[in-house]
Each structure stands twice: as structure tokens, then as C-alpha cells.
């Protein structure tokens, strides 16, 4: 159970939900339909929401992400799914919080600049290493090696097993 009312949740998260969906789904009408689906699920599941398991924003995000994945599976099987969504393993709601994003920012700042750039271009922008190599004026081999180094350093800094 939560102290948020349905109206408060809609007011707080509708701009984030529609913006996230628009970045992935073609067409304003499709995006608005999906946004409605998200809030229909949010309101239906609200009595079961457990604040001790996840922040409300993380919970709304998880429903949004799953709704977008279902949309692609249902109606756009031929269309390529956003790479960050293609990993359809369950979202670990403990991992996703504003604090974890700040920790990632801090870990990225502690990396040598080129390694930070490779991680952002690869995992935020979804660019392949070949394109990153071209952008940075480096060979593919050099970028691949730095990418591995960056992952190793981040694993240590973020205490990832």
C-alpha cells in the first residue's frame, strides 16, 4: 500500500512515462495508447504496491518498461527492440534507484576520460564499438581493449560480482 493517490502518481510520472515511450515507439497515437495502458496497470496494481520493495518511481518505471517490451512482442515482432530493452531479464528493483544512478555517475567520473566516453556511448547511446572507434579516431582493437578495461574498473567501483 502507498501514501500516494492515483492522481498524484499520474501527475508526477505521466511526463516521464510518455517521454520514455515516445523515445521507443513510432507515432504519437501509439505512444499515447501505451501510456494509457501503463497507467491502467499502475492504478489496478496500486493496492499491491509495496514501498519496502521499491521506490514508487522504480515501480512505475518497471511497469512502463514491461509494457513497451510487451508492445514490441505483440505487434512489432519484426521491428528491432531497443538494445537496452532486449535484455528481458527481470528488473532488479533494488538496483534501480536515484542513488544507484548517482553512484554510477561518480564511478564514471573516476574513470579516465576515454573509458568514460566509451561506456556512455556504448550503453546510453547504444552505439556499436566500431562506430565509437570511428567517433574517437581510434582503432577498433584499441576501443575494444579500453571497453574491457572500463568494465573491469566499473565492476570494482560498483561492487558488481
Amino acid at each position: 500500500m502507498t501514501s500516494y493517490s492515483a492522481e498524484q502518481i499520474y501527475e508526477l510520472y505521466q511526463p516521464k512515462v510518455i517521454s520514455y515511450i515516445r523515445a521507443r515507439v513510432h507515432g504519437q497515437a501509439n505512444a499515447e495508447d501505451l501510456c494509457s495502458d501503463v497507467f491502467e496497470k499502475v492504478f489496478r496494481k496500486l493496492p499491491d504496491y509495496d514501498p519496502s520493495k521499491a521506490a514508487i518511481g522504480t515501480w512505475v518505471f518497471t511497469i512502463t518498461r514491461n509494457t513497451v517490451i510487451d508492445y514490441f512482442r505483440r505487434s512489432r515482432p519484426a521491428e528491432e527492440l531497443d538494445e537496452n530493452l532486449s535484455d528481458d531479464s527481470e528488473v532488479d528493483e533494488n538496483l534501480l534507484s536515484n542513488e544507484s544512478l548517482s553512484e554510477l555517475a561518480s564511478a564514471l567520473r573516476s574513470l579516465p576520460q576515454q573509458l568514460m566516453d566509451i561506456i556512455v556511448l556504448r550503453y546510453y547511446d547504444g552505439k556499436p564499438l566500431t562506430e565509437i572507434a570511428e567517433m574517437m579516431g581510434l582503432s577498433y582493437g584499441a576501443v575494444k581493449l579500453r571497453h574491457q578495461n572500463a568494465l573491469m574498473l566499473l565492476r570494482e567501483k560498483l561492487h558488481d560480482d
Partner: protein
């Protein structure tokens, strides 16, 4: 680690954490090349085909109007 990064950056696109946004913007600024960001005022002059020169012609014509 790769899976964790994908999930965190995907969540960032929803949550827009200000701290991480700064890091991302600093990276994008290094690779933005010669692309010039148009102001909202300038965007009004970009025609439907996205050709800013056409808009500038209209802007010049308006300036010449008495």
C-alpha cells in the same frame, strides 16, 4: 556488468538523474562535431522539411518589411 549498465542507463532515460545527466552531456559535447543547437526562436523558422535556410529567407524577408 554489461546487463547492469544497460538497465541503469535505461532507467536514466526515465528518471533523468541530474548527476548522471551532467556526465552524459559532457561526453556528448565532446562528440557533437559541428552541429549547432538551434534556439526555440530559431526552430520556429525551420520549415516542415527541416531546412533552416528556407526559414532564414522568411526571416530576412520579414526584416525588410516596413
Amino acid at each position: 556488468m554489461e546487463s547492469k549498465l544497460k538497465k541503469l542507463f535505461d532507467f536514466q532515460k526515465f528518471e533523468d538523474n541530474a548527476d548522471l545527466r551532467q556526465v552524459i552531456d559532457s561526453v556528448h559535447a565532446r562528440y557533437s562535431g559541428n552541429v549547432t543547437k538551434l534556439s526555440l526562436d530559431d526552430l520556429e523558422w525551420v520549415n516542415a522539411a527541416g531546412d533552416p535556410d528556407m526559414g532564414m529567407m522568411n526571416k530576412d524577408a520579414e526584416k525588410k518589411r516596413p
